[in-house]
Amino acid sequence: MEKYVYIALFAPLVSSIFAALFGMSSKKNFVGVIASLLLATSFMASATLASYIAEGGAAIHVTMMEWIGAGDLMIPFGFMVDHVSVTMMVVVTLVSTVVHIYSIGYMDHDKSFNRFFSYLSAFVFSMLVLVMSDNFAGLFIGWEGVGVCSWLLIGFWYHKEDVSPEVNPSISPSWAANEAFIVNRIADLAMLVGIFVLYWNTGSLQYDVVFAELPHLDTAILTTAAIALFIGAMGKSAQFPLHTWLTDAMEGPTPVSALIHAATMVTAGVFLVIRANPLYSMDAVSDVSYFIAALGTFVAFFAASMALVNRDLKRIIAYSTLSQLGYMFAAAGLGAYWIALFHLAAHAFFKALLFLGAGNVMHAMHDELDIFKMGGLKQSMRATYYYMGIASIALAGIPPFAGFFSKDAIIETAFNEGTLILWIMLVVTAGMTAFYSFRQVFLTFNGDHRYKEFGIHPHEMYKFVLVAMSPLALLAMIAGFFQGSFQEFITKLLPNYEMSHHTHELVYYLGGLVLVVAVSGIALAWKKYGNGLKRDEKCENSFIYQLLKNQYYIPHFYAEFISRPYALVSEMMWRNVDMKIVDATVDAIAHILYFSGDKTRKMQTGNLSHYLNWMGVGFVLLLIVAAITTVIG
């Protein structure tokens, strides 16, 4: 089985290097094809491993070689395939294979076609390292690796100019890329701290050693580690207050948004919490776990609220991603790790599908993203319409599609734990989710053909692209039915989470309630937008609408109170402190010497008599010293 581990892991790397060889030459179709084939190979290997594990095979550990060894620290390149990582592997490789094939079509006209595949495959490799590593350092390699690939891919169209935030909230792809990288780095620091805490208290970074040591540790240490690791997770999973980069990351090509900023990378935070479940499920850190759940719920609601009014197709989906990540954290924080993982997988499928659909729309609309300028696209783009419809139904949580099962389980969990406030918020958010998903679908595909005034002639995507998307659509529809078997599979490793008897009795009422809320959300969306866009000036000018539209003024706040002061302080540090204080002090010392020399130069009159006079002065001074010492001594 080990060879499958290596195949699954290194096929994307080979793909990346292969594509990189052609990185600077013009578009070559075979690069995309070979990359996709290699990714498919990786998926096959992952699937093989998954079936092996599902059949009861033992978790596979491989250690390639030593990486860092210093002092007592020993970090190997070790990989582990167990129930959790194999699930992630399958999800990641599946979605990325689809995205690779999709990109052959989507990036068709881009002159940096080969480069794109190189980055994309490198991302998949990093992501696999992240999920397969058997130690925290390896996780961190993947963690940073996906960060860099994300930076490269968000900034893929680096040649675009910076514009003011009023024109484009992301300013420019390169700006958004830097923002994403830097914000992630803030969280990464916390993650490093978490790693340090664990190392100095357990003596290792291997998961098994660390987790075995946990029960012997202080509450304070556990809490520190849990908080630090969670802050790390917050950055990657774009949780409040480190969330702004995710929507700006939509500047990247749409396949990137589908793969990185919906299906895989942003779920790394959730994965980390699930991976570290022995830590987070301890009683000592129950407060931290509850905080995770509360923050997740808040983000779910908060992001959904911003999605309600946004006009940008991709940003709406990005907010919904954020919101769904909140759901996952809520589940993980409440201890329902397997439900979080299940929602992660299901979400990956339908959200990737949604993004790829959005990519088709963008392709058709010549990169226009404003849904107010679309409408009635279903005639020209029937397949895409169906795909996005399926994905939206799944997202809204309408049975029997995947989202219903996974999301409903989370909401039930919140009820089961007796955290009523969280439960209410999650239910309300479910309604909002349904509303904004269908608002977007209706505005895009139904109603009047608003795009005509911009002279756009939409056309459907290539056939092979649409075919490639079908597995995702299928999974978005049916994944929910595997809930039971998935639970059985995954709880061999993760702690099981069962609803209490009381909840079990109420399950139909609870599910029904959520369903009613979701359906009414859809109905509201239909009523408002089903027959084309009717703009409501009064509503759009209201404070709430403006607040949501401006993302609660948080990017503005960051720009004004963090970025600008940082730049100003840096400037001041340089011009005033470094030049005028530190360096000036050094120069002042030199100047004192110089000036004293310059002044005393006048003593050199050339007249021996004057020199003798000075000598006399010196002689007397020395005598004074001598006299003082003799008298005192």
Binding site: G23, G71, G145
Partner: protein, 508 residues
């Protein structure tokens, strides 16, 4: 080849002397061949180095002034071995990538002499020999900055010389006092480091001597607030000067801390952890912010050097094997990465004769190879895992966490603010549309530049993925150093801080 070290030290100097008779046109080829031979010798040294042995190897001892115990005494251990190899490597690559045409012969000769002094510093085991090479290294660098530099070159070179010279004079006083103390205890004069190591000093003497050595090392490193000579020196130096300065000369300071301050004054080092780490943290954060404010790409990299040197200092004073090994590894990685970055800046300077970021923009489209290599070095500079920059930074912060979690977090902000200024430079230089007409026709890297840069990229990745061949010997020597310091420390607090092996604390 028992006297390989003497060959390593004096071969470049002798070759440099012979260089005076070499024809001007072939001076460059001559220099490159000498540097290649030197590198091969250094690699041979590495290959035949006994990695399991933590002590000094290839020791040579020739009495110079026997009455005062001054000997020509050299040797290498795991700590100095790789710095020697890196010195040879960077000199060679710097020469290959060099674009200077003016007075090329003199430049080559200066570089070869500089190489002698640099290698001499790292292999010297006698304080006087160390001091000699230490000071001699200033002279060729003074010439390089003063003769081939920018418009302010005289000011910059004089400042560089006088500033570092002042510090090293104080260090010399410390050395003489140390020898005096040794004489008063043992009755014989000796400047040999290995003799000094055996001398256990009272703590008040340790503090004063530590401060005297600190003056020399801190200015060389350069530590905040003694750093202001560096931006001038880098700003005015020709590319090759900056490369050598950043890659090797700065390392002499941090190497001095490891070779002298820690083992000679373990108690004082432990006592000084706080003041020094505060300075180092200020240095990390402050200079990173200053770097962000710069308009000149080279100045950004110069300030970033200072910031990274702060991390190295933190690691040195972490007093555990992880931290010190990390800091030595970081010395190597910083040497490679900052050297490469300075070479890269030199590339566009050669083409446009300006280093201002505002003059550039969108270079990624015009010079893709250049952008890729710059990108690699940028990522190594911000400490991305699987590049050379991460290993050292990670170990240093990990090690320092044991001394002070808060300090490690503050020092760790380097991964954030380092990313901020580096990415800003990259964005402003390489991204966006090509706005300046003059940039539209810039040629991409030529063969000469690629020859110099590609090996560095390879090393950056190789040592990032598999640092063991380097980290292993370093770690062996560092562990020996730590246990030596632990034995030697007098006070309990120092013994407690200098930890042999206690990664696993008692389970509470």
């Amino acid at each position: 080849m028992d006297n390989i070290l003497s060959v390593l030290v004096f071969f470049p100097a002798i070759a440099g002397l012979l260089g005076f008779v070499v024809d001007k046109g072939s001076a460059r080829v001559y220099g490159i061949s000498v540097a290649t031979v030197e590198l091969l010798l250094a690699l041979w040294l590495w290959m035949s180095f006994d990695t399991a042995n933590a002590g000094m190897q290839y020791v040579e001892l020739i009495p110079l002034v026997p009455d005062f115990g001054i000997n020509y005494y050299v040797g290498v251990d795991g700590i100095s071995l790789f710095i020697v190899v890196m010195t040879a490597l960077m000199t060679l690559l710097g020469m290959i990538g060099m674009s200077i045409e003016k007075e090329i012969k003199n430049m080559i000769i200066s570089l070869l002499f500089l190489e002698m002094t640099m290698i001499g510093v790292f292999v010297a085991l006698d304080a006087i020999v160390f001091y000699l090479f230490w000071e001699l290294s200033l002279v060729p660098m003074l010439y390089i900055i003063g003769a081939w530099g920018g418009p302010l070159r005289i000011y910059a070179s004089v400042k560089f010389f006088l500033y570092t010279f002042t510090g090293s004079l104080i260090m010399l006083v410390g050395m003489l006092f140390m020898a005096y103390l040794y004489n008063s205890v043992s009755g014989v004069w000796s400047f040999s480091l290995t003799d000094w190591y055996a001398l256990v000093l009272p703590e008040n003497y340790q503090i004063w001597l530590f401060l005297a050595f600190f003056a020399g090392f801190a200015i060389k490193v350069p530590m905040f607030p003694f750093h202001t000579w560096l931006p001038y020196a880098h700003g005015q130096a020709p590319t090759i000067g900056s490369v050598i300065l950043a890659a090797v000369l700065l390392k002499m300071g941090t190497y001095g801390f490891v070779r002298f301050s820690l083992p000679l004054f373990p108690d004082a080092s432990v006592m000084m952890i706080w003041p020094i780490s505060v300075l180092a943290i200020i240095m990390v954060i402050y200079t990173a912010m200053v770097a962000y404010a710069q308009e000149d790409i080279k100045q950004v990299i110069a300030y970033s050097s200072v910031s990274h040197m702060g991390i190295i200092i933190l690691g040195t004073f972490a007093m555990n094997a992880e931290g010190i090994s990390g800091s030595i590894f970081l010395m190597l990685s910083h040497g490679i990465v900052s050297g490469a970055l300075f070479m890269l800046v030199g590339v566009i300077y050669d083409r446009r004769h300006t280093k201002l970021m505002s003059e550039f923009g969108g270079l990624a489209a015009v010079m893709p190879k250049y952008a890729v290599i710059f990108g690699f070095m940028l990522m190594a500079s911000v400490g991305l895992p699987l590049t050379i920059g991460f290993v050292g930074e990670f170990l240093v912060l990990l090690g320092f966490y044991e001394i002070s979690p808060i300090g490690a977090i503050l020092g760790g902000t380097t991964i954030i603010i380092g990313a901020i200024y580096m990415l800003t430079v990259y964005k402003r230089t390489f991204f966006g549309p090509v706005t300046n007409e003059k940039n539209k026709t810039l040629p991409d890297l030529n063969g000469k530049e690629l020859t110099a840069l590609v090996p560095l990229v390879a090393i950056v990745i190789w040592l990032g993925v598999y640092p063991k061949p380097v980290l292993g010997p370093i770690d062996t020597s560092v562990k020996a150093l730590i246990s030596f310091m632990h034995e030697k420390a007098r006070s309990d607090i120092a013994k407690d801080t200098i930890t042999l092996s206690k990664s696993v604390k008692e389970a509470k």
